[in-house]
Amino acid sequence: MFTLIGNVFKNLRSKYATRLYPYEVRESFAGSRGKLEIDPDICIYCGICAKRCPANAIAVTRKPDKTWTLDPYRCIVCSYCIDVCPKKCLHMNAKHRSPE
């Protein structure tokens, strides 16, 4: 009995294990997959990313206007599109999308 009591006293003395989230945000790790971003200047709008996306989250149109749109609610952040992009114009931002 009372096997965890030492731990309780230790926790009383140590600092919090959690953060006050919206005010104090954890730093992302360098390679973290946060959100997908595109460099529109390099993109050739070939549409390979849209075709290969497992979640159909990307839509690319060439006519009448060249557009590249991402549905963030469908995106599963797998970064497969980054692998298949011939121009390497896609990249992951380590910061996660903020809930606004």
Binding site: M1, L4, F29, G31, R33, V77, S79
Partner: protein
């Protein structure tokens, strides 16, 4: 003789992390039998997998389970590789082992944490999950995601771990081991914990065998069965021993998980110690053709993949038999004859993953 009563346990119940209903047939306070009712989270992933190409399936397959996702994609990739006759390079095999074991650790910590919560030891539950957070950090640092690692693909792995991060994993393991040394004696030796776990939900060896129990549930009943000893990925070079207990009760199942946690730490250390340098994947142009059955050891037990390709991008059939699916008949055997108050602990002691079961 008193009349039998049927009461529903779940689908929403404080001890259940996922929805499953058990219709308990009771004689006073004693359970006579239990009927499982599933289907609350059936998503039809096997059907969807037939309509995506086999490379996209890698990411779909991971989402069968939110806990053992990496091992799902690993088994799937091994299946595709065996269909196409590919052999991933040795470094990829070691990286797969490292991530698999990290996954096993976070899954087991989650399982014993939930068990602590199920018998009402919330403090221990929070301590165990705090420890688990270090492993989640290690996974995010090495792959970029906490659970859906997305690093395993047919032919090898997509991402290398550089020496800096391998060192980070090792320092994480030191922290985790230190914290586990404080928590595990509480989980295994505390008086009130033992009162709730010892002798509860006994599954003897013969029943476990007949009902097809897998993973820690089978090992706690004295069946030495661990597919890692069979040596897929790089496990063949790491000498894995199955952790076997013989009592077959909830305590034995917990003890198996605790021993496997320490085993995983030593496997990761050994793997990092002898990881070879070299490429991390092999290129391929072929398409999957033929049939293959692939099995691997998940934290909850053996997972079986049946893949059938027809030489095109799409697979003709993809079938997954997850460990919890196999552990449902054994849990029904455990429930027969137990007290109503122990049902929650017994169900959690097999570490049920309902999303896996229904896909």
């Amino acid at each position: 003789m008193a009349k039998n009563t049927i009461i529903p346990f779940g689908p929403q119940h404080p001890v259940l992390p996922e929805p499953i209903q058990l219709r308990l047939v009771l004689d006073e306070e004693r359970v006579v039998s239990a009927i499982p009712v599933v289907g609350y989270v059936h998503r039809g992933l096997e059907k969807l997998a037939e309509q995506k190409d086999f490379l996209q399936d890698t990411y779909l397959i991971e989402r069968i389970c939110g806990i053992c996702s990496f091992i799902h994609s690993l088994t799937y990739s091994m299946g595709i590789e065996s269909m196409m006759g590919l052999t991933p390079p040795p470094r990829a095999q070691y990286l797969r082992v490292i991530w698999s074991e990290l996954h096993r650790m976070h899954s087991h910590l989650l399982a014993v944490g939930l068990l602590a919560d199920a018998f009402g030891f919330e403090n221990l539950f929070m301590q165990l999950w705090r420890t688990r957070e270090h492993i989640m950090d290690a996974m995010e640092a090495t792959t970029g995601a906490r659970v859906m690692l997305g690093t395993c693909c047919p032919g090898g792995v997509r991402k290398d771990i550089d020496p800096e991060l391998l060192k980070f994993i090792l320092t994480t393991l030191v922290t985790v081991e230190k914290e586990m040394d404080e928590q595990m004696p509480v989980l295994l030796n505390d008086y009130s914990v033992k009162q709730r776990l010892c002798g509860v939900g006994i599954l003897d060896k013969q029943t476990a065998y007949e009902r097809g129990a897998v993973g820690p549930t089978a090992r706690a009943s004295g069946i030495a069965m661990d597919l890692r000893t069979h040596g897929y990925a790089a496990y063949g070079e790491l000498a894995v021993e199955p952790m076997v207990e013989t009592d077959g009760d909830c305590y034995a199942r917990t003890k198996v998980r605790v021993r496997e946690l320490y085993q995983s730490i030593s496997i990761i250390r050994k793997a990092i110690g002898q990881i070879p340098a070299g490429p991390i994947n092999v290129p391929f142009k072929t398409k999957p053709d033929g049939e293959v059955i692939m099995r691997a050891e998940q934290p909850r037990g053996e997972v079986l993949y049946y893949l059938k390709g027809n030489g095109s991008d799409m697979l003709e059939r993809l079938r997954v038999r997850t460990p919890t699916f196999a552990n449902i008949p054994p849990v029904l055997a455990m429930l027969a004859g137990c007290e109503l108050a122990d049902v929650g602990v017994i169900v959690i002691s097999i570490d049920p993953c309902i999303s896996c079961t229904e896909r």
